[in-house]
Symmetry: C2
Subunit: 188 residues, 2 copies
DNA sequence: CAATTTTGGAACATCAGTGTTCCATCATGG
DNA sequence: CCATGATGGAACACTGATGTTCCAAAATTG
């Protein structure tokens, strides 16, 4: 893991490529490396210099995404307030991932990441839901895995809603939060 | 439109190819025609005989899917009972689409169908939600488009849940319906 | 059974994306 | 300002998918 920051020119172009790749592949999972290079304002050769094979790029994106999710999860401060409140914060933080979110949904099958493998964020989320069950702020009939999956699905829905109906982002987020609140509410 | 039934050998192999294509592409959107041919138990040449180009096959799948959705929508009898009840029936009917559902979600970008273009089913669903608003059985704060998108997202979630956590289908459907009911419930 | 249709497979040309190499050019920082 | 490193572009070989053609075998139909 050379997560260590080369903190120079290299680091910046690497990021540019990574960001462009997420952005382009989010819209078209079948995009070619040439497309990504163009979007990054970089020569195709340069991409191969940083990521020898396409799969290397995909893997790097995967790692990058997991990191973004981790950061967002931390920022949501899962331990503050009721579990229901924390879950809403998670929703807001994840919503900010934007294109990264789109990418994750449009490229599920790619071996870029083992979405199957439980990450720290997954486990933290599961624990949060269990806390909600105990507290009585989250419907105990909904298993943690279901809540997590529904959360992602709602986030995706929110972005779709913004895209297709040119609704302002904040409006979609509001709908998303409102819907989430109703989903997890106990009783019913 | 030769939707007219050739009702012979042709029709059957055509269906076999279409079904296999949906099944294979649902799992791997990048699958080759050779893969599809193998899954259909048919020579690759035969596929080209029915669908000259890949795009023709994709288009046919799109039309097929829209038809399936239409049939399912009709079966849900949108005009019977309260709008909320009808919407739950829609959910159940759509759930039965199974692999077709997966396909639609895994291949959103393909030009196989204009998912953008409103179909009859879309419009019927929108009207149903509006009826629910008027009746007071569906939360008036949720726009029809949002309800429709959330419905699809929940259905996708249900199938994912079954896939990843090897939960029996009926259990996922139950969760899905329960969640939907809470989402559309007025007030909150 | 005979005629017709449908099929599978082989062979082929084509094409787009990938990965590699090489070199001239540009930027950076020491 | 010069040396080192980073970049872009051209050229190339390679691969896998696509689409076409042709023919012999199998199935359907009357």
């Amino acid at each position: 893991m050379d997560t260590a920051a080369p903190t120079g020119t290299r680091a910046r172009t690497r990021r540019a490529i990574l960001d462009a790749a997420v952005s382009v592949l989010a819209k078209n999972p079948a995009a070619s490396l040439a497309d990504i290079a163009a979007a990054a304002g970089v020569g195709r050769t340069t991409i191969h210099r940083y990521f020898p094979e396409r799969s290397d790029l995909l893997a790097a994106i995967g790692a990058h995404l997991l990191e973004l999710i981790d950061v967002a999860t931390t920022r949501a401060r899962l331990d503050d307030g009721t579990a229901a409140e924390a879950l809403e914060r998670v929703c807001q933080e994840y919503f900010e991932l934007g294109e990264a979110l789109q990418f994750a949904f449009e490229n599920p099958q790619t071996q870029s990441v083992d979405w199957e493998t439980e990450t720290d964020a997954d486990r933290a989320l599961a624990r949060l839901v269990e806390r909600g069950h105990a507290e009585g702020t989250i419907d105990p009939d909904l298993p943690p895995a279901w809540v997590a999956e529904a959360l992602w699905a709602l986030l995706y829905t929110a972005w779709q809603h913004t895209r297709h109906n040119d609704v302002p982002k904040h409006a979609s987020l509001t709908l998303c939060l409102r819907t989430l609140r109703k989903v997890i509410a106990p009783g019913g």
